[in-house]
Each structure stands twice: as structure tokens, then as C-alpha cells.
């Protein structure tokens, strides 16, 4: 699978998580021109943001919905032979940091449209203005395992005043 397609699908997964759990979520179209692996700082920061928001929901006793949320978005390994699958093999192939197989299965287009530039949050009719908050590559909480960290901060879920994207605010 090409990186841009992977990036797009991962973004959709993140948006679904946000939608399903009433988490304000703003994302931007990636302007990177080359191939990518879905691991750029912006994509990673969005994931960490969702983890923190879900942890907050858990801390205040709210339901978190994750299981099977996006199971229709990627191919299953089960089932009969995918058409066109190939493995590339050859003696002496350099593998450093890579993996023994090549992604060659095309993933069908998810039946979802990407919404960008505004908070996609049911019931939210506030027009948001201002600058998009920068992602923080060195966010110290980024390595925390989701759902296990202790939350001491009181989260006002509906307080979006002045917030366009998201902030870590520890």
C-alpha cells in the first residue's frame, strides 16, 4: 500500500475514534508530496491527543468506544487468495530496518469522506477562528500508555473557547 493511502486511512480511523467518543477533532490535509509511512509527527500527535482525550473520558466515568470501530476499513488476511498478491524475494536483499515482505495488496477505498478544517462534533455550532495549534513533537506524555495514566486535571469537555485544534495543556 502506498504511503499516502495509508496516511489517509489512518486519518479516517482517528476521525472515527473522535466522532464515536464525542472528542473535538480538527485535522488538516497532509501536504507532504512524497511517500510516507503514516508516522509523521503530525499524525502521531493526533493519535496521542486522542489517547489523552479517551483517558480523560475514562477518568470521569464516560464510556469509551473503540472495539471494532473500523474493522471494515482494512483487508482481512482470512478468506481466499487476494488477487495479485506477490512476494518479492531475492538473495542478498538489504533488510536493515525493513521487513521481509512488500506491501502489495490494494486496500479498497473506505466509503468515508474526509472533513477538514473545522471541529466535527455533533451539536457544535460554534464557528472557530484563530490559528491552528502546533503539534508538539516533544510532548512528554506521548510515551504514556493509553488508559493507564492517572489524570489529575479536570477536563471541561464543552469548553472550546479559544481552541481551534487541540492543546496538551498539562
Amino acid at each position: 500500500m502506498l504511503g499516502k493511502e495509508k496516511c489517509r486511512i489512518l486519518k479516517e480511523i482517528r476521525r472515527k475514534i473522535a466522532d464515536e467518543n464525542d472528542i473535538p477533532f480538527v485535522t488538516e490535509e497532509c501536504t507532504h508530496k512524497g511517500n510516507c509511512r503514516g508516522t509523521c509527527p503530525r499524525c502521531e500527535s493526533e493519535l496521542r491527543y486522542l489517547e489523552k482525550q479517551l483517558a480523560r473520558r475514562t477518568a470521569v466515568g464516560k464510556t469509551v468506544t473503540l472495539a471494532a470501530l473500523c474493522t471494515g476499513m482494512a483487508l482481512a488476511a482470512s478468506g481466499c487468495a487476494p488477487v495479485g498478491i506477490s512476494h518479492i524475494v531475492g538473495g542478498g536483499t538489504e533488510l536493515s530496518g525493513a521487513v521481509p515482505y512488500t506491501d502489495v495488496i490494494e486496500t479498497p477505498e473506505p466509503d468515508i469522506e474526509v472533513e477538514t478544517g473545522e471541529v466535527d462534533w455533533p451539536g457544535n455550532e460554534v464557528e472557530l477562528t484563530g490559528e491552528v495549534a502546533p503539534f508538539e513533537e516533544d510532548d512528554p506524555s506521548a510515551d504514556a500508555f493509553p488508559f493507564n495514566e492517572e489524570e489529575t486535571e479536570i477536563y471541561l469537555e464543552n469548553d472550546l473557547s479559544g481552541m481551534v485544534a487541540y492543546e496538551y495543556g498539562e
Binding site: 512476494h87 521481509p100 493509553p146
Partner: protein, 211 residues
Amino acid sequence: MVSEKSSEALFPLLSIARLRMGTDGTGVTTLVAGAGCPLRCRWCINKKLLSDAPAENVSAAELLDRVKIDDLYFRTTGGGITFGGGESLLHADFIAQFRKICPSEWNIYAETSLAVPRKAVETASGCVSFFIVDCKDMNSGIYSAYTGGDAERMKANLRYLIETVGPQRILVRVPRIPEYNTEADQKRSVSELKALGIENTDVFDYIIREE
């Protein structure tokens, strides 16, 4: 006194590949490749995988710490960790330890040739969610010529696996191997697999890359 640490299995980690989709498991998976393989396949993708020595040995907790970054993707897509290699089931004890400490919602996939002792398959059957088996070829002569191994061991382990975990949790890959088998051989392999009860097969071609 034997410490608890001394009984901890370690995994000879060669590489971790995140965010794989539809290639080696359902949903979003992370491929964890380990060193060591009992077979010596002519077209092995990398001879590094055959060695037991050069990899970094990690504990189950250390591996979990490296792969948990994609927990949300795993939970929401039915994905998880795919152990590959090399021969993943050489590290069945490690996989069992990892299964115990990783989130129960994660799926554990194993890419295997089943060219391993029965004990490893028994251990894996209790902790692996889905097996992706590369059978090479079901013909003993072709199998031996290509891998240097014994097809009967693979077949016996496959029969055990079918009986133990059921065919729904097994995908068997049947490659067309240049210079070793033909499309007719592939069809014969698929027929034999179906006779054993295998429902999921993946018929594909090895493509030799020019060096």
C-alpha cells in the same frame, strides 16, 4: 535460587514495521521480525534472518513498550502484532509471554512455516489468534529441494493445528516458486490442503528481484 527473570524468554528482534494494513493480518498490524529459521530456502528474502546471533534480544515487556504506540489502531481495526521472521514459532514461549501482558483486545498473528517441533505449535495454539502458514509446496520432493526441510513435519503440524484451533484461524500461503514448482504443483497443493480441511489459501508468485 532461580530468579523469575532467568525464566523469561527473550526475542531476537531484527525489525519492527508499524502500520501495516491487510498484508499480514486483519486491520492495522505491527510486524515484529525475529532471527532464526530451521529452513534454508533458496530464495530466502534475507540470509540475516537465518542467523540466531545478530539480533537484539528483548523481553516481552520491552517489546510491548515499543509497539503499544499503536494501541488505538489495533483496538479499532481488529489488528495487533504479527510475529514473523525467520520462523516465528521458534519463539513460541516468548509469544506466549507477550500474549499474557499485552491488551487482550489485540490479535496476535504468527507467520510460520510450521517447520518446528510439535511443542512449539502446541504453545502457539494457545496464544496465537491467527496463523499464516507458508507451506512452500505440499509435494515432499519439491519441499525438500527448495527448503532442505521435511514436508512431513510441516504437514503433521498443520494437521495438529487444524484439529486444535480450527481451519478458521489458519491461512495457508501456496507460492509459485521459480525453478522449483509449477502452477500445476500449486493446484495440487491447494487440493491437498482442502482435503485436510484448510479453507483459506493464498496462491501467489515469488518474484525474483535482480541483484
